[in-house]
């Protein structure tokens, strides 16, 4: 058609015919007759909610026209994003309007479970779904094996208490399993065992004079994306920015310094920076203290007398020096990490000059690997050496976020529940080889990826029923083969989700749920840019299909069904503990439970009973309208003066807190700490276990057979793991530096590419000891020779028409978690997903 028209035009021009004779030209105003009739945007309204596309958890607003969500922006009240979002917010419209949304409860009719096996799902009624689930739960209770029920949590709101905790415990299982250790527990480890908080940090970018970004790209992911995007441009103007990362991230591309270290060698590089600061006498003395006689005794290779140094806010500097730093010269670190020694000296001096306004932004890249725990301690210790910890322009803890806590519910736990909830959990946390020292306790943290081990080994027991919500553990844990086997063996699995995913394919019943930001109801707590935030998730539109709030509607309905079957505890508990805080009325429906629980948790912000600081909000209606509360700005130096939550109340370079935790774990197993270190896969013995130190990175796979180090990273378009069914994801995938639109790309340095005979666009197979995947090669100078990098996200074989090549059978691209072999960082319980333990080979196909 178009060609014909063009031909005709040429003809018409030649014959003098007016092209305007074509259709549509007659009714128009003259081109330059000036602009009447611009109606502009048609009527609509903005509703406050929360974007959960990453863990920033941005307060957001949704523009609604004709009952449809049409645009998204940041919440104008937010002191973090100031009304503007990163790309994920806009991308989310393709999630709420995903053509592959599940529109009805469905059940599996093919009992055979396995990858690529069609479950032969058929639609069922909500009633049938809930009845079947309740029957299975009653069967477990009847057989005295309620512990064999496991709840696996993915993306949650803080209404999680109801499904994750209360439902599981009242039913009588210890197995509420979160996904937390897939995310960044190894990162929290380093912070907890130095400054005593098992938490993410906040960062004071506005006042930083030196920003050291380590193992993440704050303008692409991590925990305050829009705030970081707004500030990076000004920061490279005003301050020095250095990025330590084996790949050229956006931050690294824009920064003054890029340190492309070998994956996993972070503690060597951090140690060398510390070494320079100490030998040159440029540590921040106001925080760390000084030699008693003022003479610097830190000389390379020389042991220092502890008694010669008087510390102020820190503990164990000299021990750290003697154990781990004295020999870690820039030259040595440069050899280990294959970086430029002079650059490390320059960075150390630059940081010291900017001290104390130094922001050390530590991300998961440095520590989510089998020997990563000490890397996070080492990197974080630099924020103390420069005095930037808890200080102006530095890394901060968060302001108080005083929501109500889950009400007491133990009276609704019967004898069975009380007994069973004390049993060991399926993730084997706290076993000798899995200290999982969350919060300072043996087994104090989750080890999500180790559930597969426990399930397959039936140790501590077998799992007979799994309920998963907004999770996809079969895909999102490294070592997918292991998870596939584990899920095949579960007799009954329920998946609560918005679109089908790989986890659904192992499920017996799948229930359609509300999409966060647009439909889901709840609240989250977050912090960024010095402000703590509580922000609501609200139902901004009427969902197109009948879908549920999995954290509240689902437990309500299950509670009712269990009550019909003679187990009233859950239903009675929910009606008892979540009354409307304004009227005292008990909920009589799932919707009322949702509303009352949300009001209960957030009431300190709006009920006017107590001044909690920050935004003043008058009543529930205003809270819903605004959608959020900002705290007052965090007070600097809140922890200084002996208020750190460590054993010594100081910032610990020599971690008495870790010593206590490791010793506790060792005593529990009647061994010594050296034995624990051995069981956890670490090389340190003796006192070295209590200080940040370099451990040679573990490599899974023989480098002779698998010569390249694989690096996983998160796309700035990943809405966690679930935006790959959005066509816009592929259209704009090239906003990840070095990536290409519409394809799943593995990036190699041209040197390695040439050696392998590869060119841009070649289809390749990547193999490791874990498995193999196929994707497309790109040769790019932003990759360190010897490493290859690829973003996590693609490779779905069962997530809709766009994410999968053939739904249920064939993936589009490859899943990084198939080639990153199953492994853990055992001191924190984390998934080993970063840091280059996966050795791979690449072949042209």
């Amino acid at each position: 058609m178009k060609i014909k028209r063009r031909d005709f035009l040429k003809l018409s021009a030649a014959t003098g015919l007016a092209a305007a004779a074509f259709k549509g030209s007659t009714l128009n105003a003259l081109a330059d007759a000036y602009r009447p009739g611009i109606g502009g945007e048609k009527p609509g309204y903005w509703v406050a909610s929360t974007c959960q596309g990453c863990t920033t958890w941005c307060p957001a607003e949704v523009f609604v026209q004709d009952g449809r969500a049409v645009k998204v922006r940041g919440n104008r009240h937010s002191k973090q994003n100031e009304g503007v979002l990163c790309p994920r917010g806009h991308l989310s419209l393709q999630q709420v309007y995903d053509p592959d949304r599940i529109k009805t409860p469905m059940k599996r009719t093919n009992p055979v479970k396995g990858r690529g096996v069609d479950p032969k799902f058929v639609p069922i009624s909500w009633d049938e779904a809930y009845n079947t689930i309740a029957d299975k739960m009653m069967e477990l209770r009847k057989n005295n094996e309620s512990e064999k029920y496991a709840l696996m949590r993915g993306r949650y709101t803080y209404m999680r208490d109801i499904l994750y905790e209360v439902t599981t415990k009242v039913f009588g299982s210890p197995n509420s399993i979160s996904h937390s250790s897939m995310c960044a527990e190894a990162e929290k480890f380093g912070v907890f065992y130095t400054e005593g908080k098992w938490e993410y940090r906040d960062y004071d970018l506005d006042n930083a004079k030196y920003i050291l970004i380590w193992g993440c790209d704050p303008v692409a992911s991590n925990r305050m994306v829009p705030a970081a995007i707004k500030r990076l441009g000004n920061a490279i103007e005003r301050a020095t920015v250095a990025a330590v990362d084996p790949r050229l991230t956006t931050s690294a591309a824009k920064a003054q310094e890029w340190v492309p270290l070998n994956p996993g060698t972070d503690a060597a590089v951090a140690g060398a920076i510390a070494h320079v600061m100490l030998t040159e006498g440029i540590w921040h003395k106001e925080f760390v203290g000084d030699f008693k006689d003022g003479k610097n005794l830190f000389k390379a290779g020389v042991t220092v007398d502890e008694a010669a140094f008087a510390e102020k806010e820190s503990h164990g500097l000299v021990k750290w020096w003697n154990l781990a730093l004295k020999d870690m010269t820039p030259k040595k670190a440069a050899e280990i990490a294959a970086v430029d020694a002079d650059q490390l000296v320059r960075i150390a001096r630059g940081m010291a000059k900017a001290a104390p306004n130094v922001c050390v932004w530590m991300g998961p890249g440095c520590c989510m690997q089998p020997r990563g725990a000490y890397n996070s301690m080492a990197v974080h210790a630099l924020s103390a050496l420069t005095g930037g910890v808890d200080n102006v322009g530095g890394s901060l803890q968060g302001s108080k976020n005083p929501t109500n806590k889950v009400p007491k519910y133990d009276k609704h736990m019967d004898e069975v529940a009380k007994k069973k909830t004390k049993l060991k959990k399926i993730d084997q946390r706290g076993y000798l080889n899995l200290p999982a020292l969350g919060g300072g306790k043996s087994g104090g943290g989750v080890s999500t990826n180790n559930c597969a081990t426990g399930m397959l080994a039936k140790d501590p027991y077998d799992i007979k029923m799994v309920v998963g919500y907004m999770n996809n553990f079969v895909f999102s844990n490294n070592g997918t083969d292991k998870w596939e086997k584990a899920m095949e063996a579960v007799p009954f699995t329920v998946h609560l989700t918005t679109v089908a995913s790989e986890f659904s394919m192992y499920s017996d019943i799948v229930l359609p749920c509300r999409t966060n930001l647009f439909e889901r109801i709840g609240f989250v707590k977050t912090k960024a840019n010095r402000h703590a935030t509580c922000t609501l998730l609200q139902s901004t539109i009427e969902p197109v299909f009948t879908v549920i709030n999995e954290e509240t509607d689902y437990p309500w309905h299950i509670g009712q069904k269990l009550k019909e079957r003679g187990f009233p505890n859950l239903a009675d508990c929910l009606t008892d503990i979540f009354k409307d805080p304004e009227t005292g009325k008990a909920p009589t429906s799932a919707a009322e439970l949702t509303e009352y629980a949300l009001k209960y948790y957030t009431s300190p912000f709006w009920d006017g009973k107590k001044d909690v600081g920050g935004d003043k909000i008058k009543g529930w209606d205003e809270m819903k309208r605004r959608g959020m509360w900002n705290s007052d700005a965090y007070k600097y130096k809140s922890q200084w003066g002996g208020k750190f939550s460590t054993v010594t109340k100081k910032f610990e370079f020599y971690s008495e807190t870790l010593k206590k935790a490791l010793t506790g774990h060792a005593e529990k197993h009647k061994v010594d700490v050296d034995k624990v270190m051995e069981a956890a896969g670490y090389t340190a013995r003796g006192e070295l276990a209590f200080v940040p130190h370099y451990e040679p990175p573990k490599q899974n796979g023989d480098p002779k057979q698998f010569p390249l180090i694989f690096i996983d990273y998160k796309s700035r378009l990943n809405r966690e793991g679930r935006s790959q069914n959005c066509p816009w994801y592929y259209e704009f995938k090239h906003v990840d530096p070095g990536d290409v639109g519409e394809q799943d790309t593995v990036r190699l340095n041209p040197i390695d590419g040439k050696a392998l005979g590869l060119k841009d666009g070649d289809k390749v197979k990547i193999s490791s000891i874990g498995g193999s995947i196929e994707c497309v090669a790109r040769l790019w100078e932003g990759v360190k020779p010897g490493t290859v990098s690829k973003s996590f996200g693609q490779g779905h074989w069962a997530v809709g028409r766009t994410a999968s090549k053939v739904f249920g059978k064939e993936a589009r691209g490859g899943n990084n978690n198939t080639i990153i072999p199953w492994d853990l960082e055992r001191l924190s319980g984390s998934n080993a997903r970063n840091g280059g333990h996966a050795m791979v080979k690449i072949e042209k196909v």
């Binding site: 178009k2 063009r6 503007v84 949304r101 441009g233 890029w258 197109v544 530096p737 100078e781």
Partner: protein, 250 residues
């Protein structure tokens, strides 16, 4: 005479993609299909140097709203479907457009057939009767009877389902088939006192919009201060999208 212009501060830009995605939600552009990108806003990337001295930058691109616009010259209809408004916006009138694509061919910043990795200011909406977006006319259910389809979803909502509705005498919020389409500086917003949506949505505040004919305007000041550059100056198109400062600090 007003001349609307946009300044893009590359030092502030982090190449995140928010502007281009926001534009897609504002202007309801279709997904890439049939060799057309349908991105009013897009990005070009440049890598230079060898590891470890690698340099990398992203450049957001959009219609340059040229003062000497080849697309306007090439438009064969009378009055022209592609024309300059009094405020210097290169405007497109959907009704008069005959879909000849002469504008697309004439524009030095556009391509007739857009491959992956390429950008094009002007796109063609498809032959007469082509659906706005075939993604939302597809009736396949990946799990039959249990999951939805593009057609079902659009049927219960709109086309596209997240369609932002607005009124403008020259262009529709969703363009019909057999015409060209491109960035119109969101005139439906600008004339209501709002910034173009890419500007309002930029988390880096890297986009500044204003009247460059006013020497006191922010855009004029920035272009002067930082010696703003344009794309393909040798083409003589006199673009009104300017780039200032360097993406990198090293």
């Amino acid at each position: 005479m007003t001349q609307y212009a946009m300044v893009i501060d590359l030092k502030k830009c982090v190449g995140c993609g928010a502007c281009a995605l926001a534009c897609k939600t504002e202007n309801n552009t279709a997904l890439r299909h049939a060799g057309q990108a349908h991105n009013f806003a897009d990005f070009q990337h440049e890598t230079s140097g060898k590891f470890p001295k690698t340099k990398y930058m992203t450049r957001p691109v959009l219609c340059n709203h040229c003062s000497n616009a080849p697309c306007v010259k090439a438009c064969p209809v009378t009055p022209k479907a592609m024309f300059k408004t009094k405020d210097g916006i290169t405007m497109h009138n959907d009704e008069r457009c005959i879909g000849c694509r002469a504008c697309q061919e004439a524009c030095p910043y556009s391509k007739m057939d857009v491959k992956i990795g390429e950008t094009s200011v002007i796109s063609y909406t498809g032959d007469e009767g082509a659906p706005h977006d075939p993604f939302f006319t597809n009736k396949t259910e990946v799990i039959p009877g249990c999951t939805s389809s593009g057609a079902e979803l659009a049927g219960k909502t709109d086309m596209p389902p997240h369609r932002t509705k607005y009124d403008h005498p020259d262009y529709k919020d969703v363009r019909r088939s057999n015409i060209t389409e491109k960035c119109i500086f969101c005139e439906h917003r600008v004339k209501k006192g709002q910034e173009p949506y890419c500007v309002a949505s930029c988390p880096a505040r890297a986009r500044i919009f204003g009247d460059i004919s006013d020497p006191n305007s922010e855009v004029a000041q920035l272009v002067k201060k930082y010696k703003g550059t344009v794309l393909k100056p040798e083409k003589g198109t006199k673009p009104n999208v300017f780039y200032i400062r360097s993406y990198n600090a090293r």
